[in-house]
């Protein structure tokens, strides 16, 4: 009885593992095969590295190396926005955790509400606002909204509120350090783990964001990779038979599209693998005992 229960449990877990992992496996193997071979050979078979190189040549040639440009844009948007997030969120979390000023609770509650609200709910309002400010089509219309990352503020707040010994800060003040010096010399060096966590979440959120850049950017040379992928999708005849002739000309078929998708997730996947533990801690941020 016990043995069957254990077996059943393992069976259920394994079935779900297959569901979660197989699509990733397929995606990794697809660029190793030619488009025709994807249909005829076994879905999870390996083709050849030569095909991967060929697929990359086709992808790279698409629209005058625009794929590299998209990756570059994504790196630019994600890194610059995350830099601003770190510069604003860490001090803000510190100020909210250890400060005492009128409106502190209001700022904290607003930050929490906006953080929990789905980001997509704010995209059209932000678009309408940027449109009124004539910022549509500018790189800033992506970087500036990305730089507002309330989750980062909350993580920093939580960290300082729960782990920062007030005595240490008071000691620094007794030694004559001003508020700024206390932050820079004592609080900031202690915040290394939280800086890494905020960096990670902000970078991943920016890298994966589709809706905002899709709404506010007009020129395909400004697209980040997520929007670029949708552009590639509409050029793939396998999904868009109307592109039949066009697909032949631009050489974008399923293997190329799969390779483009795979390369687009590599930066995030690497950070995912490296920081799984930190991530879990971050996701449980709200669970910290009061």
């Amino acid at each position: 009885m016990r043995v069957t229960a254990r077996g059943l449990r393992l069976l259920i877990l394994a079935a779900f593992a297959i569901f979660f992992v197989i699509p990733i496996g397929w995606l990794i193997l697809a660029p190793t095969k030619a488009d025709g071979a994807l249909v005829t050979s076994s879905p999870l078979s390996f083709g050849s590295f030569h095909q991967v190189a060929l697929a990359w040549d086709h992808l790279d040639a698409f629209s005058d190396h625009i794929y590299r440009l998209w990756i570059g844009n994504s790196l630019l948007y994600a890194f610059s926005a995350t830099a601003i997030v770190l510069a604003t969120a860490i001090p803000a979390g510190y100020g909210l955790a250890l400060g005492n000023f009128p409106g502190r609770r209001a700022v904290l509650t607003l930050t929490l509400v906006v953080m929990i609200m789905p980001a997509a709910a704010l995209v059209l309002p932000i678009f309408l606002e940027l449109n009124a400010m004539h910022l549509i089509g500018s790189v800033l219309s992506v970087i500036l909204p990305f730089s507002f990352f309330p989750f980062g503020v909350y993580l920093a707040y939580l960290y300082y509120a729960t782990t920062m010994p007030r005595d240490l800060l008071d000691a620094a003040r007794v030694d004559g350090a001003g508020e700024w010096q206390t932050f820079r010399r004592v609080a900031l060096p202690l915040a290394k783990p939280i800086v890494a966590l905020v960096f990670f979440f902000s970078f991943v959120a920016d890298w994966n964001n589709f809706f905002l850049p899709y709404a506010v950017l007009a020129d395909s040379s400004q697209y980040p990779i997520q929007v670029g992928l949708s552009n590639l999708l509409s050029s793939t005849p396998s999904f868009n038979p109307a592109q039949g002739g066009g697909g032949q000309q631009v050489n974008i078929f399923r293997p190329e599209l799969a390779l483009a998708t795979l390369l687009a997730v590599i930066p995030v996947a690497i950070v995912f693998l490296l920081s799984q533990r930190a991530l879990v801690r971050g996701m449980l941020g709200g669970a910290v005992k009061q």
Binding site: V21, P43, V113, V114, A120, L233
Partner: protein, 312 residues
């Protein structure tokens, strides 16, 4: 930054030593305020102002005249409005149902296991989380194409689809989108639930076991009620997120030659009203509808579940 330091030095000079740690009063800048100053413009410009501006647009017309609820009524009467909300509600309920049953179920199954086995499974479940945004949709477009999918057997026999366009037949879409969302997001939630289960004291489980409760009873009667607020959190948050659906139907629209309308979800409809028709007031009205759902959910979570601390 020099002025607070100066005044604090003055305060120090004026006060006896023992009182220095107490909060200084007087013309001093309140402690902590300067640190949130760089963040405030962003909170206002991209958190609060867009909401207020959308609300303002929603209750006015193109010339700025106040029209009250006119835009809300007008968009509600749009022939695409009700179907779009029906689509996202059906999608959201399917997604929520699978999340509740499988996330909680799998977390409970994992919690009883040896640590290393459990960690491996959690990692495998979590992996698709790296493929968010357009990438996850593209992967599933492949998975739904019977010509190349490793699950073509299932597509042919369960969905009855021989061709890609049959896989994404309108009736299938809420389920297809729910599956994509489950695939990318469930692993993260399983990790959260597992973490919540770990906060249950061992003694409690031990006591139940001594009382003769089996693993099944312990899971349902003891563990489940103790992670209730996390389940509530997942449900409210996922409900709010689900209603905002945009990228999945947008990409499927692009991959289906318009077989799937580009106004399938409410957010898409708002987007099309703004971009294709330049009707920003109508777009704002729908954006406000969706904003209200998101806001309500967020306020509910912050004030009711007690999961987020607001006091230092």
């Amino acid at each position: 930054m020099s002025s607070p330091a100066l005044t604090s030095a003055q305060a120090e000079a004026a006060q006896p030593r023992g009182l220095r740690a107490a909060r200084p009063r007087g013309p001093r800048v309140p402690r902590g305020l300067p640190f949130i100053v760089p963040y405030l413009p962003f909170l206002i410009a991209f958190g609060i102002a867009p909401m207020l501006y959308a609300l303002d647009l929603a209750v006015t017309n193109a010339n700025g005249g106040v029209t009250g609820f006119h835009n809300f009524v007008r968009t509600f009467r749009d022939y695409r409005f009700v179907p779009a909300f029906e689509h996202i509600l059906l999608y959201t309920s399917v997604w929520l149902g699978t999340l509740i049953v499988f996330v909680v179920g799998l977390a409970l199954l994992l919690h009883g296991r040896a640590n290393r086995v459990s960690a491996t499974f959690r990692f495998l479940f979590y992996m698709p989380g790296a493929l968010a945004g357009a990438a996850s949709v593209l992967v599933w477009l492949f998975m739904l194409d019977p010509a190349v999918s490793p699950g073509s057997f299932l597509l042919r026999h369960v969905l009855g689809a021989q061709l890609f366009v049959q896989s994404i037949a309108p009736g299938h879409l809420p389920f297809v989108f729910a599956m994509i969302a489950f695939w990318t997001g469930a692993g993260g939630w399983i990790v959260v639930m597992y973490g919540a289960l770990n906060t249950i004291p061992d003694e409690l489980e031990e006591a139940a076991r001594i009382d003769g409760a089996g693993p099944f009873t312990i899971a349902l009667r003891l563990k489940l009620p103790l992670i209730r607020k996390w389940i509530a959190y997942m449900i409210i948050l996922s409900f709010a997120t689900g209603t905002q659906l945009f990228i999945e139907p947008q990409l499927v629209n692009e991959a289906s030659l318009g077989l799937v309308p580009d106004t399938w979800s409410s957010n898409q409809l708002a987007y099309q009203l703004a971009f294709r028709y330049g009707d920003f007031n109508a777009a704002a009205a729908i954006a406000v509808d969706l904003l209200v759902i998101g806001l309500l959910a967020a306020v509910l979570i912050v004030t009711r579940t007690g999961l987020f601390r607001r006091e230092g």
